[in-house]
Amino acid sequence: MPRQRKPKLAVWKFASCDGCQLSLLDCEDELLTIAGQVDIAYFLEASRAVVKGPYDLSLVEGSITTPHDAERIQQVRRASRFLVTIGACATAGGIQALRNFQDVQEFLALVYAKPAYIRTLAHSTPIAQHVRVDFELHGCPINKRQLLEVISAFLHGRKPHIPPHSVCMECKRRGTVCVMVAHGTPCLGPVTHAGCGAICPAYQRGCYGCFGPKETPNTASLSAWWRHLGIPPSRIVRAFRGFNAYAEAFRQESEVHAKQND
């Protein structure tokens, strides 16, 4: 049998903190094995060597926040067989999507003395709002085990095994006592996508939703439970307006409570 060429992997960055692509370099035990299996063709954080596209698998980190990036993501899509977004910025617009609820010009003036020098869009938007996305990996940051699963699934032409259920399932599996039931600690776990391994409740704090909405989240019911715990609407708004503020389910829920007074 003739030896097949190694699949080409590319890692792209848009507006982000680098944490999700760092997760690949944080696979300390697996990194050299991955490099043996795939051709790391474009990964600027790790290598100055650039291999021309097209690429078999593109991992995209970050959200679209500038006119230039809105163009660049089209080029990335054209050069990629599969395109997978990694992290909350790429899948939901990230923390920087908080601007979407306000006036970006005001934001600009708060940070920069000469706002005219800065080119930015009014909204921070997820990649899927611009191009077709083959798979979205959630998390702020992503979980590196899940990243390895996604890479190997795409390289073998199968569907990644990334369960879309809630953080609650991971808490139960981990044997963590429910912080909301037992301690009255407000927790976003019931509406949040699994994947982190339910870390926060294991450290005795409520989930703050960094993996974004689970499949079919009942955010209204959770908010009602928070109200039972005496949490004012302003705090519910802030809870949903975190790292996945612009994810549809979280955005809608925050808007419901933004209309209410404490």
Binding site: E28, A46, Y203
Partner: protein, 429 residues
Amino acid sequence: MPSKTIKVDYLARVEGEGALYVRIKDRTVTDVKLKIFEPPRFFEALLRGRQFTEAPDITARICGICPVAYQMSTVHAMEQACGITVDGPLRALRRLLYCGEWIESHTLHVYMLHAPDFLGYDSAIHMAKDHPEIVQRGLQLKKAGNEILTLLGGREVHPINVRVGGFYRVPSKRELAPLAERLKWAREAALATVQWVAGFSFPDFTRDYEFVALRHPDEYPFNEGRLVSNKGLDIAVSAYDEHFVEEQVPYSNALHSRRKGGGAYFAGPLARYNLNYDKLSPLAQEAARQAGLGPVCQNPFHSIIVRSVEILYACDEALRLIEAYEMPDAPAVAVTPRSATGYGCTEAPRGLLYHRYRLDAQGQILDAKIVPPTSQNQKTIEEDLYAFIPHYLDLPQPALTWRCEQAIRNYDPCISCATHFLRLTLERE
């Protein structure tokens, strides 16, 4: 010299997106611009209206490589505003967490970002083909740092366990024991790292720098101290704004810092080392001496050695902290907000990280200011290139470009922090 324009797309192996533009006329460098395209994310603006307790989780997202630094500067500023101090085992645990980040971040830079410059490889992955044991050692050393972050912080990137007042959950002494075993190996690996990088060849280059770092009476600085320099600066962190200013330049999305009434300054491992050599552990001092360093090091290319000495120190210090640790009664001290301004400055792996917050009586953030290390070093990086390039004008273009990139990486610039991607343009006239 014939008129010449050279473009090299993309300086890689830095954290973030930027470009370098260099113009050379009659063997003189006439323009150097470190351009940072990283799209701005407006953290200072989006912090307004949030609760002071939310800030450590939010500011962590400025940088995936040094989230602990952001969390630490944030909690110190908030605690100062609220008039409390955190000491004893909680303070020690913060220091231990910071050791984890220094080990992880410095090792990433030494092995994966900077060493390939010295040895002529495009990346650590290419380097691994010829030096598999060395790259494996680097990866495992990095992992040791990440294990501290995972145990104490919950995960490597954006730890979840840091809060204003302390932690959500603190480990028992027994939980820390396996970490100590791992760190004993890491300390040996760090010593081997210092010896390895000390054998590289270094350009003979120095300038008259103003080094600025924290200095603490009892310890090598992580979280606390006064801001000092080799040129007479000695101020409390709360006086930062009186002595430093940030300016906007048209070609960069990151602000440039300089000393008020003065110029560029140098933050990071070299500054810390030069101002705090006496506070390093005996083992780290001895390793530095063996590597040929004196108590003062003025060559920015030696930063890779100093960074390795700091990895060694962080392993040594982490072991000391684990040894002395006694589990506190509570994971955090209670914090009541008040209307006040708080200042925090800690030593991120790349240097000083200054935060200032103004709070109202309910703990709502009214105003935030964050000055990352890369903003502070940008001007010094540009000035280094002005001075450095003329010595290498006769090098062929690819070699000169390589040298420029190497000189920039001396500072381990984190462009994600500063506002990523370095595209290098060299114009020769």
